[in-house]
Amino acid sequence: MKFRARFTGPGEGKSREIEIVSASSPLEIRLDAVDARFDAQVTAPGSFSILGPSGRHAEASVHREADGTLRVHVGGQRFDFEFLDELTARAMVATGSGGGRKKGDLKASMPGRVLRVLVKKGDEVVAGTPLLVLEAMKMENEVRSTRAGRVRSVDVVPGQAVATGDVLARFEPES
């Protein structure tokens, strides 16, 4: 099985290819089309002890985030990927689309209560504009825009409780 991994966290936008030729022991893997030697043992559900070339070892744990991202904790670092299988990857190349995530939506990254809404429909925002204030764990958390654009809708009101992943506002990105 071959995957194209698109990095969505650190190193965002980077893309690499991994093919698992055989998932049973011994592992056969091709990384960016080059054969590579690894040994992976499952130590708990979603947790692996992985040995790479030259004895390099790390524990890796894989979680699927609410938006489908694969988050891997490995050796104290964190990597986020989107995996596209062969068909999807080919389709993306053909259409030039950016994958399945709606980049124009602002979603709650934590559960909490909306304290204040600082923008309204039609407002122009730039990266860093404060959008609203969420209260969680006894602290106020200002949610800021990560990019420029125009507010298409504000989907919450002060006092409203929100869960992780709830849409807070929608944007029309610039250009």
């Binding site: 099985m1 991994a5 650190p10 979603g46 790390a58 890796a60 894989v62 990927f81 934590m110």
Partner: protein
């Protein structure tokens, strides 16, 4: 039957008190809100009493419920921990009035130190240095200039009715006074509807240094060195050390004397902390006194070889101080591990802890409030644990802390560990070039990704994905079925481990 002590708190500090009771041969009784029915402090308890709904104001902050729990279980002592009702003089008085023993200072001592202005006046009367400042509003620029000439610049203009940093203004020389006075008055008027302003000496690059004191019922009061608490984010301490590498033996001796004098001035009994602002020139000024055990007390314990919580309880039993002659050895550092995501502006990250490994081995102490499988509730402070590292000197303590943090694994929620790993590698922190302003400008940058680790991560992700596909086709009934099933909890749906064959 063993004497019983009511632990009027939750989480990590409740567990700390439970351990102290057991070390002393007392039986601890814990309390819990509905959100904490299966919290670790309850799981570790032999006696546990429910005190109401999740919101603290309906449970942990309701003195009457705590007193009822103490009565119901035959407790003799009440230990408040920190936060909640720990510095609430009326509650301390109510405990005493109910015929129970309050593990802490006299209610009158709490009261005396409770108000910032009253306590400063009282401390000044006792000869304790406080930051030079005007005690009445400034009549005009001339009075500010006269104050500046007497005490030096820069000055800090403050609104008399103010707070929270609003309306504050730094004045670096006489030429800036007139304009700054007008602007500060304007801001004071608009924020607080009161245009009075006054000036204090502004101490630049200052440190937050605090002295641990202990008093017993025989009237003996001792100081057990200082703690360095300058690394603060949003006025919240994040990393503490004992001793402070900025404090010379002379400063330490002087500071300890002042701290003991401050404690004596309010007839202090039990453990308390006198906070100082330390200027780069070695002068120091009283800020306030915390009339309770501090979050960061373990660094003092490791360096002085004492147990402050058992000492508090023993003092409450009427015993004389047992650690008055303790002397320091080595260096300790504490990191407060919070459920927050440093890569997302320290946004809270409550939820279920799917995997957890605390560090161990030489020089490492962990005071944790959670275990694997626990859900960190939204209702309370997001501190998960304190990791404390001791070493023969500061460099060794910092190296051990870096090792301990790298060894720690917390998954399912984000934590402040990556922040601490970066902070503890910063040359300014390593070389002790810090002040209370340090973290205002310091920015967390996750380390550059390690290419070899990236390869390992890709392999893990691909194997997990294959298993996931295989499972969704096989409907999950084979031997490789998920051993942890999805549930309807939002935590779980947000962070779902892959079900892999073991």
């Amino acid at each position: 039957m063993k004497p019983r002590l009511l632990v009027a708190n939750r989480g990590e500090i409740a567990i700390r008190i439970v351990r102290a009771c057991r070390d002393l041969g007392l039986e601890p009784v814990v309390v819990f809100s509905e959100a904490d029915r299966t919290a670790l402090h309850v799981r570790l308890a032999d006696v546990a009493i429910p005190i109401g709904p999740a919101p603290a104001r309906e449970s942990y902050l309701v003195g009457a419920k705590l007193l009822a729990a103490a009565k119901q279980t035959g407790c003799t002592y009440v230990h408040p921990g920190f936060g909640f009702l720990s510095e609430n003089a009326p509650f301390a008085q109510a405990v005493v009035d109910a015929g129970l023993v309050w593990v802490g200072p006299h209610p009158a001592s709490i009261e005396a130190m409770g108000s910032k202005t009253t306590s400063r006046a009282r401390m000044q009367a006792a000869g304790v240095p406080i930051v030079p400042g005007m005690t009445t509003p400034a009549s005009g620029p001339e009075e500010l200039i006269a104050f500046g000439r007497a005490h030096g610049f820069p000055l800090l203009l403050k609104a008399s009715a103010g707070g929270g940093g609003k309306g504050m203004r730094i004045v670096r020389g006489e030429g800036e006074v007139a304009q700054a006075f007008e602007r500060a008055r304007g801001e004071a008027r608009s924020f607080f509807a009161d245009e009075s302003v006054y000036a204090e000496l502004y101490v630049e690059s200052s440190r937050h240094i605090e002295v641990q004191v202990l008093g017993d019922t025989t009237g003996r009061v001792v100081a057990l060195g200082e703690r360095e608490c300058s690394l603060q984010r949003r006025h919240q301490k994040v990393l503490e050390e004992c001793p402070s590498a900025a404090v010379t033996p002379e400063i330490r001796a002087a500071m300890q004397d002042v701290a003991v004098a401050a404690a004596r001035a309010v007839d202090y009994v039990s453990a308390g902390t006198v906070e100082f602002l330390l200027a780069p020139d070695g002068r120091f000024y009283f800020l306030e006194m915390n009339t309770r055990i501090q979050v960061e007390h373990p660094v003092t314990e490791m360096v002085y070889g004492v147990d402050l919580v058992t000492e508090m309880i023993a003092i409450a039993m009427g015993r004389p101080l047992s650690c008055g002659d303790a002397s320091p050895r080595g260096h300790a550092v504490e990191c407060r591990i919070y459920a927050e995501d440093p890569a997302q502006g320290f946004a809270p990250s409550p939820g279920k802890i799917l995997r957890l490994r605390w560090p161990g081995g030489p020089g490492i102490r962990v005071d944790a409030g959670v275990e694997a499988g626990d859900v960190v509730p939204l209702d309370y402070d997001p501190m998960l644990a304190k990791i404390i590292a001791w070493g023969g000197n500061r460099d060794e303590a910092l190296a051990r802390m870096r090792r301990a943090l790298a060894e720690t694994r917390i998954e399912g929620i984000e934590t402040s560990i990556p922040f601490f790993l970066a902070l503890l590698s910063d040359p300014d922190v390593v070389l002790n070039r810090i002040s209370t302003q340090f973290l205002d400008t310091w920015r967390f940058e996750p380390g550059a990704p390690d290419v070899a680790l990236e390869d390992l991560a890709l392999v893990a992700a691909a194997l997990a994905e294959i298993e996931s596909v295989r499972r969704s086709r096989g409907a999950g009934n084979g031997p490789g079925a998920p051993s942890s099933r999805p549930s309807t909890s939002s935590w779980r749906s947000a962070r779902m481990p892959f079900g892999m064959r073991e």
